[in-house]
Symmetry: C2
């Protein structure tokens, strides 16, 4: 048994008007709550420090730069790192990253219990679009404000286990989990900001979207025999509703814990990393069962190409 | 709207003592039932012509050759092809294939409404083991009696749509659906023979195994925006129980029809192939969203390789 007590730290909405200091204070309150419950590792949502700003269009992209962090930790986030170190708690959270040479990424980091950043992931599967789209009920401009991640899907050893990260829409792509599964991942952590209606299909409401959310997490967990910890930013941000659905999925694909509200709150669960072994050693023993000679299109072709018409 | 009326033709158990003629008569009865219901396409299970013989160990592999077909159609299966042509119904079924040069495969074929074999698939993800395993509650010797398929995961145009096949354990592997998804597949059909308990984990009973079955089908359908038709051989074969779970999953991942018994019976559903378009053109528009530069391990590495110990 290798037990990790994880705290999935869901955040309620962050309004445009909220400052970083206000948000970091909320994150510290969640961390203190998690510490009181004995957590080893706390996981916050995607873009945890700000509102989900890709819903707001700026003709001049640079007008969105104030949502980005040029330093991590910076003066406003240093207190969060300090508190984590005091608690001896590892953490992961997402933020908008502006690099010194001017690149923009949707990023998450992995911080060990000493407060050191040991891992960084930059979101690869950016959903949405890059120009104003009049046909959508609302904008989802991730492809405008971010570049696709350039770091792949690495994993890291920490707390006696193997951890990986992905972000929001990445969770719908089986490639995400598989690349980490091929590195022996035992726990994938991710944050998400998911509008509760489809901007291109109004009748696809929260029930169907929650089903797709669960389905993607559960399949990724089962098919790679890994824990998956998914953490929402939820509730109504300046009138735009994000669904909840913070949950922890075990290596058999079962949801073992979930939050039923849309506010700030921690979901704590003991995850035995050795529970990944049965799956990895039997039905998903990749070395015995995978047949890469027949998977060539997965890396050889980007888009779908139907066969020629008869 | 491109409507295909599909009949998922579940088969109850086939005992060792049953002859091919008896089985083909059952298949024809199912086909007549499907024809009465207006089906365009009938799908039968994996190894539809025989009992699930990989549960029986033979020290001399050749003793299992009588379960294989050296000809397709052969004298015993010709009546099935004849009846399909009379009904103008396309069909797919699985059988054990012995090639003229002595190779053994777990195969399925796609037959168009004129009775011509237009497609062949040979099972790639063979589960189980190749030598007698004393530690298992029962044997699952697919790796003994079959070679891994050598034809990849092709798709075929038929009935105005794009069809693909896989077999049983293939359905648990996201690579299966993705390779077909990259060829624009609109309907994946598969048969299965799934023991209702895990031979290596007795406490994993039918409820958990049915969950994994559904999860795999639903994720494959959703993540590739394709219909999935899954057809069981079910019930107790000489005291060995196979679970049911014949079902049809739509391109959003929802189960739209399922059988609740373990006997011979057809499940008929109208599938609109145009229902695949929304997913293929938005969230799973592979050309816009996939990032193959970061998927390299999927085709570059067979087994999992954890990072070095710290």
């Amino acid at each position: 048994m290798r037990r990790i007590r994880v705290a999935a730290a869901q955040m309620g909405p962050i309004q445009k008007a909220e400052t970083r200091e206000q948000v970091v204070a909320r994150m510290i309150a969640l961390m203190d709550d998690a510490a009181g419950k004995g957590a080893d590792f706390i996981v916050y949502p995607e873009l945890a420090l700000t509102t989900f700003f890709p819903r707001w269009y700026h003709a001049d992209r640079a007008e969105a730069d104030h949502w980005f962090e040029a330093q991590m930790p910076g003066p406003q986030t240093q207190p969060l790192f300090d508190r984590a170190r005091e608690h001896g708690m590892a953490m992961s959270f997402g933020y908008a990253e502006l690099t010194p040479d001017g690149h923009h990424f949707n990023t998450s980091i992995l911080v060990d219990k000493s407060g050191a950043i040991i891992g960084k992931y930059r979101k690869i599967h950016l959903p949405g679009h890059d120009e104003y789209d009049e046909e959508r009920a609302f904008q989802h401009l991730e492809k405008r404000y971010f570049e696709p991640g350039d770091l792949g899907f690495p994993v890291w050893r920490m707390l006696g286990g193997i951890f990986g990260m992905c972000i929001c829409n990445d969770r719908r792509w089986p490639e995400t989990y598989r690349v980490m599964g091929l590195q022996g991942v035992e726990m994938v952590v991710l944050g998400f900001n998911t509008p509760s209606v489809n901007s291109q299909k109004g009748e696809e409401g929260i029930e169907q979207r929650m089903f797709h959310h669960r389905l993607s997490l559960q399949a990724g967990a089962y098919q790679n025999a890994t824990w998956v910890v998914a953490v929402a930013k939820a509730g109504s941000e300046d009138g735009h509703h994000l669904m909840g659905g913070t949950m922890i999925v075990d290596p058999d694909g079962f949801i073992v814990a979930q939050l039923g509200h849309e506010d700030d709150g921690v979901l704590v669960h003991d995850c035995d990393l050795d529970a990944t072994r049965f799956g990895k050693e039997t039905i998903f023993d990749f070395a015995r069962h995978r047949r890469i000679a027949h998977y060539g299109l997965i890396t050889g072709r980007v888009g779908a190409e139907p066969p020629p018409e008869e």
